[in-house]
Amino acid sequence: MIDRRIRVLIAKPGLDGHDRGAKIVARALRDAGMEVIYTGLRQTPEQIVTAALQEDVDVIGISILSGAHNTILPRICDLLRAQGMEDVLVIVGGIIPDEDIASLKKAGVAEIFQPGASTQEIIAFIRSHSRTAPTGARN
């Protein structure tokens, strides 16, 4: 049994303002029964990690389309480690070329959802991988 609802922070780092995807995912996760906090636009990695800590989230979903992912994502993962928050699931959606996926996963990103991914795939991934997932479902 799940003790509490999965808490997700949807974050939009960088200078880009295209928030169609972030808002659709936030709403789809809410409709799937999760508690979702959306940071709003242009959050620095420090602001995102602070919000994740304060809100005690299980998952951080990051939307990034501008091409700045190789700079921004490893920094968020490093800050999470520095806070001892390694068990927070970090997932990313946006324009991430195939070539960058391996290094981002090595940096600590659990999964990357490229253009065309469905909200159902994202929901399923969170349910089976977040720390509030039913025992045994995590891998």
């Binding site: 700045a68 324009i95 070329p97 253009p115």
Partner: protein
């Protein structure tokens, strides 16, 4: 329809001469005979694929349109002749028989040197106008060496921090002969001032140069979200540039009122049209309040629309746009100069329709979309490249996109007759219905107190999000098919070459900026920035002050910081 629009509007403040209610449909005896005797038995044997057919935006499409669907249609009132009020058929008498649309490929990446080379290349390939994309730090008013610029320099467009960068960007380009469009909004007045100073230094007369600054801040709050300052001071910057253009740079379009980004954010076709034209109304009201007569600036207002996949829905949108704007300007604002009535527009094919999967399919999508824009009478066109779901285009992909336009222009034959689809029962019905739905939105936004007030309570933002979410759900339920994404998928896809912008661009820009800060006259920079700050707290036109800062090689970031101190910055209402 997902957006729940009543198609009938009892009255509208645009004063448009449309019938207040579409009459009930009365089929002819021949049509009735066909329905009963032929169609109904046939449907029993072979039912249709779907119970309801809808456009991409969710508007119901009937099986057949006949004269019975156009009993409220009047040729002279609803269409008129080409180049005549209400311009439904086009703003020119001969349209593309006289002059083809301007082929204007949006381009910008990396350093000013990189983009300068691409601009020269595109002109050599037969492109007829320039269009410059700026990177996110520039769009947000930060220099390349600002901490928030890290990872973003040169990625989504060219990095421009000072006049020196603009001089490099425009080196060797014939500024009096080529028109230049610049996609810049919050810092539009600053980037435009840089262009003007480069023109001045190259001996190109401000009276002769042509081009467009996008400068449409309202759609930033609504859709693209690249805003810096709150709405009122932002609108003041727009008004200042429109009035300055009217006096000093008479052939410049000081604003391109844009639906493109509204559509990309997930709106329907009607929302794109309605919010864009209502933004136009808002700008006219603000400039008039600043003391200008409508005919002194309205002829230079220009528009920018999206071209999405649904061919007829898009063509109807462009035709309705011209008709509605003509009525707005003549009837709502009392414009007398016929040039004030014209909805002149640029079109770009829909970036949001491109798929990362099977990217070569994007060439086909772009062709259909470009065809819609041409059949809808656009004045200029950008066709997206097949690789743009992944990155900014490579030179090869950008060339193919330009060739797509050239094939349409010179081989397809669609340019030979003006507004060739006019009179189509389906298209004319769709055009009338699109107009009515748009006017209904005008009424709602007027009732909220205008577009700035509507934005501040998040009204258009919410409407767009609802449409975007409904579309996403329809795709996930396979009610809308996207080839290669939710149907006809391939396990092993061909990969395509992508343009990669590495961090060496940022390094080069930072070095150039450091050298500039050492070499320029620091005292002059301080003086001009202080003068700008002082003028910002009065109601003086800021363009002359910005021009002085630019001439002193003050940077985009320094000018924007000066204005941030006076104007403050904007945070949007939270999304719940």
């Amino acid at each position: 329809m997902p957006f729940g629009l009543p198609l009938m509007s009892a009255k509208n403040k645009a004063g448009s001469a449309v019938a207040t209610n579409a009459p009930s449909r009365q089929p002819s005896p021949a049509e009735l005979r066909w329905q009963k005797g032929i169609l109904e038995p046939a449907l029993k044997n072979a039912p249709e694929r779907l119970a309801v057919f809808t456009t991409l935006s969710g508007v119901t499409v009937e099986r057949l349109y006949t004269p019975a669907d156009l009993s409220d249609f009047d040729y002279a009132r609803d269409l008129g002749e080409p180049g005549e009020f209400p311009f439904t058929r086009g703003i020119h008498r001969t349209m593309y028989r006289g002059k083809l649309w301007t082929m204007r490929q949006f381009s910008g990446f990396g350093t000013p040197e990189d983009t300068n080379r691409r601009l020269h290349y595109l002109l050599k390939q037969g492109q007829t106008g320039l269009s410059i994309a700026f990177d996110l730090p520039t769009l947000m008013g930060y220099d390349s060496d600002h901490p928030l610029a890290e990872g973003e320099v040169g990625k989504c467009g060219v990095a421009i921090s000072s006049l020196a960068d603009m001089e490099t960007l425009l080196a060797g380009l014939p500024l009096e002969d080529v028109s230049t469009s610049m996609t810049i909004n919050s810092p539009a007045a600053i980037i435009w001032a840089m262009y003007l100073v480069v023109a001045e230094k190259n001996g190109a007369s401000w009276k002769k140069i042509t081009g467009t600054t996008q400068n449409d801040i309202l759609k930033e709050y609504i859709a693209q979200k690249e805003y810096i300052f709150p709405p009122a001071p932002s609108m003041r910057l727009v008004v200042d540039s429109i009035t300055f253009a009217a006096r000093e740079v008479p052939r410049w379009n000081p604003i391109s009122i844009s639906g493109y980004h509204i559509r990309e954010a997930g709106s329907t076709a009607v929302q794109e049209l309605a919010f864009t034209l209502r933004d136009g109304i808002e700008y006219v009201e603000w400039v008039r309040r600043a003391g200008m007569k409508v005919d002194d600036f309205a002829p230079r207002l220009s528009f920018f629309f999206n071209a999405h996949n649904d061919l007829f829905e898009e063509i109807a949108k462009y035709r309705a746009a011209r008709k509605i704007w003509a009525h707005v300007m003549r009837d709502r604002f009392g414009a007398e100069d016929a040039r004030s009535w014209l909805c002149r527009f640029h079109t770009q094919t829909a970036g949001c329709s491109l798929t990362a999967q099977q990217p070569y399919n994007n060439v086909v999508r772009t062709t259909i979309q470009a065809l819609a824009a041409v059949l809808g009478g656009t004045q200029s066109l950008h066709t997206n490249s097949l690789d743009e779901a992944w990155a900014l285009p490579t030179e090869g992909a950008a060339t193919l996109a330009l060739r797509t336009q050239q094939v349409l222009a010179h081989e397809s034959g669609v340019t030979k007759s003006v507004d060739p689809l006019a009179g189509s029962y389906f298209l004319e019905r769709l055009t009338l219905d699109t107009e009515r739905a748009c006017l209904d939105y005008f009424d709602r936004i007027d009732a909220l107190g205008g577009m700035v007030a509507a934005i501040e309570i998040g009204y258009p933002q919410k409407e767009i999000h609802e449409a975007a979410y409904a579309h996403q759900q329809a795709v996930e339920r396979k009610e809308k098919i996207i080839v290669g994404v939710n149907e006809f998928e391939e396990a092993d896809e061909r990969t395509i070459p992508l343009l990669v912008i590495d961090e060496s661009v940022a390094q080069r820009q930072r070095e150039k900026l450091a050298a500039l800060r050492r070499q320029r006259d620091g005292r002059k920079v301080q003086e001009t920035l202080e003068a700008l700050g002082s003028a910002a707290s009065t109601d003086k036109n800021l363009m002359p002050y910005i021009l002085e800062c630019v001439r002193a090689y003050a940077t985009v970031g320094e000018m924007c910081d000066t204005l941030r101190r006076v104007f403050g910055t904007y945070e949007e209402p939270p999304f719940r």
